[in-house]
Subunit: 770 residues, 2 copies
């Protein structure tokens, strides 16, 4: 069997997804299942004086109506990702609000009924008496509740700025938007009378953490909580975190002693799931006359919404820590103030902190280039870290790890991206368009990503009765294809095809030590764990096979799923099923004290991340009449270290671009002055469609294997998004002849405003892409 790693293997997941055999949270049904509807706050800020549930209770088919009074006192959802030195204090989210509500959509009560329609109807009969209070809606307005105020940095920034030939300043804002998976959240929970435990279907990101939190909140042993693997229609960081419903639904199942189902509708999703991205940056860069960066400063206001959820303040920490990007920045200082507002609480959304920071920094660099009259590319090339400078340590911590850029060749990646742009003739395309009087622009951004966050993940590999290879991993299948990737990794240990590998992700019984799929970590960390476990099993297969074949272990080889005596004239060989049989209890080949079966558990631990990097290039056209922006061409160059499955990496990158275009141009959660969300349907929250997202050219680089893991892999989950806001902004500014834009989204209004000062098409584009 040819090596599976590196091949464009079709996704194992697709067979069941395309055949309708997938199982999503809402597909799991039980008899006597109660359906719940969450009653949510209709006001952004207020004091709850009364919740009257009598009318709802009186409805036929209503089983129960629950408010905070029915719950144990002061249940709050803890932080999963702590940032040292910060403390959410009283601002952890309660599972049900009691005295005060702090955003529209905050859970206040739960109605359980015989079906979902009855529950929804009855929920509308729950009477809420809430005395409205003024709503805080803007971070940095001067009237702020700052829940965290911290800085990151290194070097002598003051001196850098003091001695600089040039200082450029940019204010840049990124709008509130978030991950909007195809499938809203859904939870089905069965109750186990004998243990008081629960079987949970619907957790899709960090099942181990969610199990632990739920056990603590329910005050039960973790072992009576079983989170099952289900399919998920997208995660993007928002789905699968521990939300109020992740407590309420299991708690109700225990209270009612029956199965309970909850399925989020789209309107709920848009106000309930973590928002993200909303930041205001005030950046300054100190540069020498030749464009060499001497120092960098950023002052960030981060709008975190009403509560500190499971991510704590990790998103702005990531913004700060990753802001210097792939550049040589001798001195850096970033400060963030995390403000609470009366809007939906925030968390991570794919490329959290980096999408925002990259857009701000790259626009700042465009501005510097413009102000110095330099070519934008040349400015970047001059400041990119070179391979000889790696590994490069920045005296900062992020996500609890030291920030060490492990390996890479940033200039080479830039060259590869631009060479491809040349081949594709995009400069000519822009030139032709401009010659026709159209507002075309070419944008470029470079970015640094992070991936492969530890501290550890655990995988089990075992051979089954027919010689299949089974993997129990801690990741979760969010649509990213992790089952296929893990199958490829383990297949090579046995020389089999991925068709002979079965992967179960995220089942807390099958893999109690799994940590989850997030932060572009599963291929790197879970993949390395799977590789370690597979290697251990393969060793055992060779050893036991050698015994059965009466050969020395060193004389046998394992290839094509068969153990053979190397170079033996006779056809002495055992397939995996035969070796499995020899490993069963009672087998004459299995000695006392030897574990039965062919299985191994491996924990891969790593204390640093690995840092992928890339470039986005795009061509946009601006409609001068409407201010509308059309993305005509798009290219992502990405260094992945080692692509286990290039097709899946490309898919990840293309999907990221789609979301990046949405974030750059369309998506925004807007609120009115009273804190009422204005985007609770897809009529108002504009998702990119196939019309808005162009074909994406991919330059997939495997020039710099990661040094932090045996696969050499870097995560690929986020790089399609990280540089997108920056590249589109760069292209729009190029198209309309502005040195830099001042924020996202580049919606018609903001583009028209920027266009108002333009005298002619693309006046400033001389310093553009070569």
């Amino acid at each position: 069997m040819t090596e599976q790693i590196g091949r464009r293997v079709p996704r194992k997941e697709d067979r069941r997804l395309l055949a309708g055999h997938a199982r999503f949270g809402a597909d799991v049904q039980f008899p006597r299942m109660a359906h719940v509807r969450v009653v949510r706050s209709p006001v952004a800020h207020g004091t709850v004086s009364r919740i009257a549930t009598e009318a709802a209770r009186a409805q036929p088919g209503v089983i129960d109506v629950v408010t905070a009074e029915d719950l144990p006192a002061d249940l709050r959802i803890p932080v999963r990702l702590h940032v040292e030195g910060t403390d959410p204090g009283e601002r952890l989210q309660p599972v049900l609000a009691s005295h005060t509500v702090r955003y529209v959509g905050e859970p206040l009560a739960v109605v359980a009924a015989e079906d979902a329609y009855l529950a929804e109807d009855a929920a509308e009969l729950v009477e809420l008496e809430i005395d409205e209070l003024p709503a805080r809606l803007d971070a940095g307005s001067g009237d702020d509740e700052v829940v965290a105020d911290f800085g990151l940095g290194y070097g002598d920034v003051e001196s850098a700025f003091a001695g600089a030939a040039h200082v450029a300043r940019l204010e840049f804002s990124v709008q509130r938007h978030s991950g909007v998976p195809l499938e809203p959240r859904a939870l089905t929970v069965d109750y186990v009378p004998a243990t008081g435990g629960v079987e949970i279907f619907g957790a899709t990101k960090v099942p181990g953490f969610n199990r632990r939190v739920l056990a603590q909140l329910l005050d039960v042993d973790e072992s009576v909580i079983h989170l099952h693997a289900v399919d998920a229609g997208g995660g993007f960081g928002v789905r699968g975190e521990f939300y109020p419903e992740d407590f309420l639904v299991p708690w109700l199942a225990r209270r009612l002693r029956r199965p309970v189902s909850w399925v989020e509708d789209r309107a709920e999703h848009l106000v309930a799931v973590n928002h993200s991205r909303q930041q205001r940056h005030r950046l300054e860069v100190a540069a020498a006359g030749d464009g060499t960066i001497l120092g960098l400063r950023d002052d960030v206001w981060h709008d975190n919404g009403a509560y500190v959820r499971t991510h704590g303040v990790i998103v702005p920490e990531l913004t700060l820590s990753m802001l210097p990007g792939p550049y040589r920045v001798p001195a850096y200082s970033g400060r963030v103030r995390v403000a609470l507002t009366n809007k939906t609480p925030c968390g991570t959304y794919r490329a959290p902190g980096r999408f925002e920071g990259t857009a701000a920094r790259e626009q700042l660099l465009d501005l510097v280039a413009a102000e110095l009259g330099m070519d934008r590319v040349e400015l970047r090339r001059r400041n990119l870290l070179t391979p000889g400078e790696l590994p490069h340590t920045r005296a900062m911590h992020t996500l609890g790890t030291e920030l060490v850029l492990d390996s890479g060749d940033y200039p080479r990646l830039l060259d590869r991206a631009l060479d491809t742009v040349d081949e594709l003739g995009w400069r000519e395309l822009v030139a032709r368009g401009r010659a026709q009087g159209r507002l075309l622009g070419l944008g470029l951004s470079l970015f640094l990503e992070k991936s492969g966050l530890g501290p550890h993940d655990t995988a089990d590999v075992e051979i089954t009765s027919t010689g299949r290879v089974r993997v129990h991993s801690g990741g979760t299948s969010l649509g990213q294809g992790i089952e296929t990737v893990l199958a490829q990794i383990v297949a090579d240990e046995f020389g089999v095809s991925v068709d002979r590998v079965d992967v179960v992700n995220g089942d807390t019984t099958l893999q109690p030590f799994g940590t989850g799929s997030w932060a572009s970590r599963s291929t790197v960390v879970a993949g390395s764990a799977v590789r370690g476990a597979g290697r251990a099993v393969a060793l055992r297969v060779r050893e036991l096979g050698a015994e059965v074949l009466e050969a020395a272990p060193e004389d046998v080889e394992l290839a094509d799923g068969v153990v053979r005596v190397r170079g033996a004239a006779t056809a002495r060989a055992l397939d995996l099923a035969e070796v499995w049989l020899a490993a069963q209890p009672g087998s004459p080949w299995l000695r006392d004290g030897e574990p039965a079966g062919l299985s191994a558990r491996h924990r891969f631990a790593v204390d640093r991340m690995t840092y992928p990097y890339g470039a986005h290039v795009c061509v946009v056209e601006v409609d001068p009449g409407s201010g509308g922006v059309t993305v005509l061409r798009y290219l992502v160059a990405y260094e992945v270290g080692r692509a286990v499955n290039p097709a899946l990496v490309e898919g990840q990158l293309r999907g990221g671009v789609a979301q990046g275009v949405g974030g750059a141009l369309l998506e925004e959660f807007r609120y009115d002055e009273s804190g009422q969300p204005q985007c609770t349907t897809f009529m108002d929250y504009l998702m990119p469609t196939a019309s808005e997202v162009p074909a994406v050219e991919i330059v997939l680089c495997e020039d710099a294997p990661a040094t932090t893991n045996p696969l050499g892999a870097r995560g690929a989950g986020e790089g399609g998004l990280t540089g997108a806001g920056a590249a589109v902004a760069s292209a729009v500014s190029d198209a309309i002849g502005r040195p830099a834009m001042t924020g996202l989204p580049l919606d018609p209004g903001s583009v028209l405003a920027a266009l108002g000062t333009v005298t002619g098409p693309a006046a400033a584009s001389a310093d553009g892409i070569p």
Copy 2:
């Protein structure tokens, strides 16, 4: 915490059973579940010319009707327990009969419908055209199909008989009866679309074997078949074997791609579940003039019904191998012919082979005593093996093991039984009754049992987040209390109470190497595995605890669920939850390469059985008018080696006596001359009730710990039954003044027939119990 082993701990199972939280096979329900009804042969023997399913298919709500034509060709259920040198040939049971039917009740078709009533109604519309053939109904009639003919024995039997002062001969028959659990069989099977696998609820005896057979018959990997632990309303050997339905229900779930439920009704159970016991013995014993046994012969016809099911011919093998019992038998020869008849196929029923053989042998000894004019007890005492003669090897194999009686003090047990009978005044009771002209008799039997069959069982023990102890064992909970027993065993390793232990038995995912609960083996074999696993975990707890406490491992102790530095003045101590936390991935105490968590798997392997033994004593009264027998008093003395829970051992023995009384007096599957079963309801198949079963005195002996396992335990599952037929027969013969009875059941007809020759009450009782 005081030691849990040896205590009368209340059963852990009872909390859920009494609170209605138990989960039996039929309690497991899924949406869209299809319900099946098996169409069974109405004739005992015949050629199937046509099965017309059209009318059934046309019924509203009918989903499918399946006959053998729809199945893969020639699916037959394999033998689980092979007897060397025998071969079932063509007589393995097919899952659905095609050309020929061989007993009334044989499955011919299966109807699946939207509910069980529709399925049953439609099943009656399946038209069967069967040409009847003559039915074979008696084994040893001269027209026999003998599927196995084999012998066991040792010593020079010919010489023993040639030189004997006395030879006694007895023909003794035991009627066809079987285990009739409170809960008939039930299976619920869910289909897993993504894997094509099945989740099975209802397997209750040997889940590992059943999974393997099902995987082979379905031609799937074992890993996609998951047998779940459920409660069961009794097993007794019959429930949980692999029957045709154990294939048909999962196969239908896969065919229909939906959940399928099958619940056996009582009439089905009485013709479908394994029958047992039916044997005809021709015994001869050679004795010296003083009653010393010189040699023993038996020639057995074993009626096995229509097919060889999973037990193969192990039941008659057990009859032969165990026939010499606890006695010094210098030369022995047994032969059995296993005949196939057109009746329900046979298998094991609690104390298989031994109930029959013990009844035959003990009546033979009564006969010898009568013929030699000796006291029945004295004859036995003279021939019992003494402690000095143990271990005692008989040159036979049984259940694949060498027959070595491990340890014991048989005479002491007899003394203890008789001392108790004296204390209870039963001899006086009999004497008083007789003085009133009543037909009272005192019966005695001695028996040897076997238990603790290997070759192995595997258990996992782990500590959970709140410091509970969890056990995943291979046994199954049949009502015998094995969860409590295993909890007691493991609790002592940590010094905790059984309330802190959770036991899950028989889940093939949680414990893939479990072998099951049968043959009085679970306490011995699974218990020893649990003890080994618990000990390994306790060692790890002490080691890790010592590290956290910064002490040497030898300086810490584990008691009351707490690790403490021994004799430390300071209160340095960790409870199990704290040690668990220290063992989690990411803990500073967990080193690279060390497995996370606190868990261990242990396989206990043993190549010999351990042999419990006991005595039954009872007082009966015979109604000379009706021939009815009433059991007035009952005593079981039993050597259990070590009683993990004396209350449960006593419960096992009392339950056994109830079934033994049923087998001795009431229960019989009768057939008419055409092979039609005559006992398909409880009106005709007479189960003992509280009116028929007296209180049972127990003399529980722990005088001779078993030498084959670290617990010193012997199984207790069957000893309440083994000697019952023998003791009741002995008492009835004593009551009516016959030297011996010639068979079971001792129903009114047979007792009246025996009474016909009696001249006065209890004429022969002078040689009775002292």
